[in-house]
């Protein structure tokens, strides 16, 4: 049993899924589902289709270079069965996939953090401009909780009750 990669979207193809297309020049194309297969028949280039891994890697949206990818390289050399080795590998696989997942997530967060300032400025602008959609301006003047600039609200309570702290 071998877990293949979809030619179009690069997701893993588990046994029992997908279609294998053999072209007359003996090149085999594996597809994970009919969506990818149909896109292939439409002669779409996966590097130009936004939701594929090929596009994301090409445009720097996802991580490309990492040492965790080395573990997944296809090795055509058969290895002699070694029980200890197999056990170690089976233990290592979830660890490696976890590390890979965290690294990929960090890559995306790092990529998106560059625009955080812009997003906050945009949110601030939206709040200032479109606040009337949430509450009418006349109501806002009385209740200042929705506007951004801090307004000093006078609270009248007896000052003597709080002085014991200063002693």
């Amino acid at each position: 049993m071998r877990l293949e990669k979809c030619w179009f979207c690069s997701s893993t193809i588990y046994p029992g899924h997908g279609i294998q297309f053999v072209r007359n020049d003996a090149k085999i194309f594996r597809f994970c589902r009919s969506k990818c297969h149909k896109n292939f028949k439409m002669k779409r280039n996966p590097r130009k289709v936004k939701w594929t891994k090929a596009y994301r890697r090409l445009h720097g949206k996802d991580m490309t270079q990492d040492s965790t990818f080395e573990f997944e390289r296809k090795r055509n050399r058969p290895q002699r069965y070694d029980r200890i080795n197999t056990e170690k590998v089976l233990q290592a696989i979830p660890k490696i996939s976890k590390v890979k997942a965290t690294r990929e997530k960090d890559h995306i967060t790092k990529r998106l953090s560059a625009g955080r300032v812009n997003r906050r400025a945009e949110d601030r602008r939206e709040l200032e401009q479109s606040i009337s959609l949430v509450k009418a301006p006349s109501v806002l003047k009385e209740d200042a909780t929705l506007t951004l600039p801090k307004q000093k609200v006078t609270v009248s309570y007896a000052q003597t009750e709080n002085t014991p702290m200063e002693e």
Binding site: P15, G16, G18, I19, Q20, F21, V22, A26, I28
Partner: protein, 169 residues
Amino acid sequence: MAARFLSKSSSGSSLLGALGTSLVGVGSVARQTTSKLTYSDIFFQQQRTFVQMGTKLKVVDNSGAKRVMCIQALKSKKGAKLGDIIIGSVKEAQPRGKVKKGDVVYGVVVRAAMQRGRCDGSHVRFDDNAVVLVNKQGEPIGTRVFGPVPHELRKKKHVKILALAEHIA
């Protein structure tokens, strides 16, 4: 109405075969109708069916024939799939070959556009319909086979064809 009937029947039913021949000008390809048929839908959503009477197949060995028309699919009422044997009539042949035009020959389907399920659950499909001519005993007439062949042939005991093949898919 004929189109809706087509969409109800599953691929490869004998009714479909009859309807397929009656659809003139469409080319013997059954169409799967969708709710909104656009030009691209018609072009790219071809419903691949069995190799049946009238199917023209490419001959991919050096027996001399170029194209063969299936006149009977052995062992199935619906039609031949990948790895099955058919009886065909040679429609086009090379001038000096072991078979001539008009001969009735047996052939093994080595490539089929219709997908065939494998025992691990996957499906395979090829680009075209191709056949290798054999004699009644199942031995290939030619000495070379071109293009990829599936390893379904091993189960069907066409070992000689596999031995001659350049690539096993």
